[in-house]
């Protein structure tokens, strides 16, 4: 953006986190590309987790994904919450307040019927895609007729 194009015009150093100031949304465009891909897989994982474990709070989902996927959420557990919100808006999951293990108030997420259907559909899609991609990687030049 403009600010970066002309660093020479800023002899005084501005803090790097310019986007924390309430002037415009510098970070809007930058975040998108990365998260779009991630969010897709993350959403699927959230749905599967809820299917397997039943109603869970955010931390519980995050831990489960961490246990299974390793380091996908090791750094940025927070990114889970926008995904949860998106799923809730789509009606795939539902949420309500409940009590957590340490008896604190926590928001519990639950798979809805729509969510279950969506999970089924996406699971098939995913398996199909994975199979196709897998075959592509397996095929060697000589295998082709």
């Amino acid at each position: 953006m403009d600010v970066q194009k002309r660093p020479s015009h800023f002899p005084v150093a501005f803090p790097k986190k310019i986007w924390h100031l309430p002037v415009g949304n510098l970070n809007e465009g930058r975040m998108k590309q990365k998260t779009d891909v991630q969010q897709g897989t993350l959403a699927l994982m959230v749905l599967k987790t809820l299917e397997v474990l039943g109603p869970q709070h955010g931390y519980g989902i995050a831990r489960r994904i961490e246990q299974i996927s390793g380091d996908l959420l090791a750094v940025n557990q927070g990114t889970l919450y926008p995904v949860l919100l998106k799923l809730e808006q789509e009606g795939a999951i539902d949420s309500e307040w409940g009590a957590s293990e340490n008896n604190r108030r926590a928001r519990f997420y639950r798979l809805t019927r729509d969510g279950r259907k969506q999970l089924q559909a996406e699971k098939q899609d995913w398996e199909q895609t994975a199979a196709i991609i897998g075959r592509f990687f397996d095929v060697k030049a000589g295998d082709l007729p």
Partner: protein, 894 residues
């Protein structure tokens, strides 16, 4: 489906965003708490456990930002933020905001009013079901919508294009509802009228074709809602009540709905009577007179699927047949179709042209207002360049800054639009109840509807974007570094800036408006002093509707003589005469005349169709028409005497090729009778002020009797001029009323001065002058604020420079010139351009305003003077401010 659900969720979130923020906060806190506990369980010290938990969670703010973006409507949120900020900015500079809002209110108000009138009269004139397939019949030859009653019956019976054809005619009639007899206006309508128009009664019922059984067979009336409301005070028991119309007994059978007033958009009749009873209303029967064409107007709904062209072909074939069957009565019968709302093509085109012209001028006003605001905004943007630069420097995108500026512009335009709309609604409502011509039931139903509101909203938005766009280039070019470093000093450039161009254009537009208003005012003044061919000064008009009081035939003639004799006996009366239709006020019925050697008297062989009047002796004296040759009619020119006529110069020129020796010559009238010319009078205006020279024919009342006549009474010349005339006319009015009442107490009389009566004719010119005058004033106001804005701004920008000049010993004149030179130069250029354009535009004015010519030295001088005066007015305060600069104080300040 999914995206819709998400959108709805977003809207809900937008409304409940505070609560949702709290929820996220709580979730995050809970999450970190749980993670911390987990970390502690794994053996970390509490502080480190919390730190690790936070690290693992990642950037909270970035996540929140994303969360919010996902949750709410970012666009709307920023918009609200911008709107709040814009509101604060406007509150901070109330005078700027007030000027801006007032300017726009003026522009948008003017447009909304003109559009409201356009909407009411032309776009959506008839509030009748399926009005889009309703057409009126007009003859192609003269574009008039009149037919004779027998022709109407033939057209109705033989056409295959219309569902049905109805006919109507305007008439005045005396109605006696039990308390008092008053003269009121009625529509005589064919029995099927209400069915053709698909109207439903408000109360009671309507009459139908089945009620018609020959002349005077249907003595029933339908009241208009307004008349019922005013005279019967909403009494629902009115149905079946007996009333007397022109002394004949009638029965009230129904009340029309409130919005129903027939098909002429500005005419509001008091009641409706069946046409078969017209003899009782008009005093003579037109039911079987095929030749008297000006009787009824015909209209109907086209059948579904029939195009206007097909209908015209159908009607023309009937017309050709009628021509052949009745060669004596029917001239060329070919038809066109027209919208019935403005008397078809008789009034439609000029009214449309005038309103379109007004709309254009109103558009110019708005454009000038936008130019004005645009330069104000540009000035403001450059004043705020430091703020803008800071925001850019802090990382705001230029788009966001522009959005902010546009939000401000739109906010102002919406407020201005709302104020303008409010004013225009008041004005339109006032216009709707206004009755411009006191003796006619005319008014303009221009109450604003949704269309007007929408138009105002769109105009407000459009103008907001228009003037908001002016500072765009400025913002895009802003270099934050330079401005933050150097401060907002103005470069005193010699270049012509955008602002200068805008102001120049604005002044030019305003000069156009001022020019056209001056032209119109001058035209009207000249019209009022113009030569009508009669003298309306010191004359009173007494309408004597004898048919309303039951006089017909010889009784009417006798009564007219008694009235004349009695009136002439009043002391202050110099002369009095009767005429069946007052020139210019009632027009004049054209009748065909033929040269003496014509034997085949079909309409197409006519030598001329002069406006024809039936008058009593002494009319010319009373009306102030100069008799140029020959003699006036005498009482001996009666039924038993040879036919005689008096003609005007144009008649003599057309028929006898010479104005001087026409006396004694003969010509033939429609009925084949020969008439001898016994006198020649001067030309005049007969139907409209703008008409060309027209032939006129006067016949003696005793040979061409007319029942409903107007009495023209000329008062004896009075010393003391107009002021004395007012008193005298009032006194004379009283005397006349008593005199007529003494002869017959049941005779309704209407008395007014001839000038008052001329209001009808002068109405278009007056309206044009008033509206153009108002636009001129608006234009003047806008140019004052525009010049004032620029001058004040340039003085305040250049205070330092001017202070230095004063300190160095500049004269007052030099200081003022330095400060205001540019504004004055712009004023001069703008005025010159505007004057030139105005003169071009005034050609259009000449269509409406009689005698409107821009090539009038007085107009040119007046425009230049007015603009100079406005300039002086607008620059006075800034000039004073420039002169009052105290260099010493200024030096200390810096």
């Amino acid at each position: 489906m999914k995206s819709l659900r998400r959108f709805l969720a977003r809207i809900t979130n937008f409304i409940t965003r505070r609560r949702a923020d709290d929820r996220l906060q709580e979730e995050i806190a809970g999450h970190i708490e749980l993670q911390t506990e987990e970390n502690i369980r794994r053996g970390m010290p509490p502080a480190e456990a919390r730190r690790q938990a936070l690290l693992k969670f990642g950037g909270v703010e970035a996540m929140k930002e994303e969360y919010r973006a996902l949750r709410g409507l970012v666009f709307l949120e920023t918009f609200l933020q911008d709107a709040r900020y814009a509101w604060r900015m406007l509150r901070k500079s109330p005078s700027f905001s007030a000027v801006a809002v007032a300017t726009l209110a003026l522009g948008i108000g003017a447009n909304a009013v003109v559009f409201g009138v356009l909407n009411g009269l032309i776009v959506h004139p008839l509030k009748l079901p399926q009005a889009q397939s309703l057409y009126g019949l007009e003859r192609a030859s003269d574009r008039m919508g009149f037919e004779s009653y027998p022709n109407y019956l033939d057209l109705r019976a033989r056409n295959r294009s219309f569902d049905d054809l109805a006919a109507f005619s305007i008439a005045s009639a005396g109605i006696d509802t039990g308390s008092d007899a008053t003269s009121s206006w009625a529509l005589e309508v064919s029995g099927n009228y209400f069915d053709v128009l698909r109207a439903q009664p408000y109360l009671g019922g309507f009459f139908h074709s089945s009620d018609e059984h020959g002349p005077n067979s249907a003595p029933m009336i339908v009241l208009s809602y307004a008349f019922w409301h005013a005279r019967f005070h909403d009494d629902t028991g009115v149905i079946g009540r007996a009333v007397r119309v022109n002394k004949h007994p009638y029965t009230v059978i129904g009340v029309a709905p409130p919005e129903f007033h027939g098909t002429i958009v500005f005419f509001f009749p008091d009641f409706f009577v069946p046409y078969v009873n017209q003899e009782q209303i008009d005093g003579e029967s037109f039911l079987s007179a095929r030749g008297s064409r000006r009787v009824v107007e015909v209209l109907g709904h086209l059948k579904p699927g029939v195009t206007p062209a097909q209908a015209i072909a159908d009607l023309n074939s009937i017309g050709a047949d009628l021509e052949k069957s009745f060669p004596k009565d029917d001239g060329k019968m070919s038809f066109v179709l027209a919208r019935p709302s403005l008397y078809g093509d008789a009034l439609g085109p000029p009214v449309k042209a005038f309103l379109a012209g007004l709309m254009m001028l109103a558009g110019l006003i708005l454009l000038a207002a936008c130019a004005n605001l645009g330069s104000l905004f540009a000035a403001r943007a450059s004043d705020r360049s430091r703020e803008l630069a800071l925001r850019l420097a802090l990382g705001s995108s230029r788009l966001r800054v522009l959005r902010q500026l546009f939000t401000e512009a739109i906010l102002i335009s919406l407020i201005g639009g709302a104020v303008g709309l409010w004013i225009s609604v008041l004005l339109l409502d006032a216009l709707s109840v206004w009755r411009p011509i006191s003796r006619m039931p005319f008014s303009m139903p221009v109450n604003p509807d949704a269309r007007v509101y929408l138009a105002a909203l769109l105009l407000a938005l459009a103008s907001g974007f228009l003037f908001g766009a002016v500072p765009v280039r400025q913002v895009l070019r802003t270099d934050p570094y330079e401005i933050v470093k150097a401060g907002s000093s103005a470069r005193a450039g010699r270049r012509i800036t955008m602002r200068d161009l805008l102001l120049g254009a604005q002044i030019a537009i305003c000069a156009v408006l001022v020019t056209s208003s001056m032209v119109a005012v001058r035209g009207l003044a000249r019209t009022l002093r113009g030569n009508f061919g009669f003298e309306p000064r010191n004359a009173l008009l007494v309408s004597v509707p004898l048919s309303s009081a039951g006089y017909t035939g010889d009784a009417a003639t006798a009564m007219q003589k008694r009235v004349l004799d009695a009136v002439r006996a009043i002391p202050n009366v110099q002369s009095a005469g009767l005429i069946d239709r007052v020139p210019l006020c009632d027009g004049g019925i054209p009748s065909a005349v033929f040269t003496d050697d014509t034997s085949d008297l079909r309409p197409s062989n006519a030598a001329a169709t002069p406006a024809t009047y039936s008058i009593s002796p002494e009319y010319f004296w009373a009306a102030g028409v100069a008799l140029l040759a020959g003699r006036d009619f005498a009482l001996t020119d009666d039924k038993n005497a040879p036919r005689v006529a008096i003609v005007n110069q144009e008649f003599a020129r057309t028929i006898f090729r010479s104005a001087s020796n026409a006396t004694g010559k003969y010509f033939k009238r429609e009925d084949g009778s020969r008439a001898q010319v016994i006198g020649v009078v001067e030309d005049g205006k007969y139907a409209s002020l703008t008409e060309d020279r027209r032939a006129a024919l006067y016949l003696p009342a005793l040979q061409a009797p007319a029942t409903d006549t107007s009495l023209i009474v000329r008062a004896a010349a009075m010393p003391g001029g107009d002021a004395a005339w007012k008193d005298e006319s009032q006194q004379l009015t009283r005397q006349l009323r008593e005199t007529v009442r003494g002869l017959d107490a049941g005779l309704p009389v209407g008395i007014q001065t001839w000038y008052e009566a001329l209001n009808t004719v002068l109405f278009p010119a007056r309206i044009a002058t008033v509206s153009l005058g108002l636009f001129g004033v608006m234009g003047a106001m806008l140019s004052v604020t525009g010049i004032f804005g620029l001058a004040a701004y340039s003085v305040s920008k250049r205070r330092r420079e001017l202070g230095i000049r004063i300190a160095l010993g500049a004269h007052r004149k030099e200081v003022v010139l330095a400060a205001l030179g540019r504004a004055l130069k712009l004023l001069a250029f703008g005025t010159a351009a505007g004057l030139a354009l105005g003169i071009l535009a005034s050609r259009v004015l000449a269509l409406v305003v009689y005698e409107a010519t821009p090539r009038d030295p007085l107009v040119l001088v007046a425009v230049v003077l007015a603009m100079a005066l406005l300039g002086a007015l607008a620059t006075w305060i800034p000039a004073q401010r420039a002169l009052a600069i105290d260099p010493a104080a200024l030096m200390r300040e810096e």
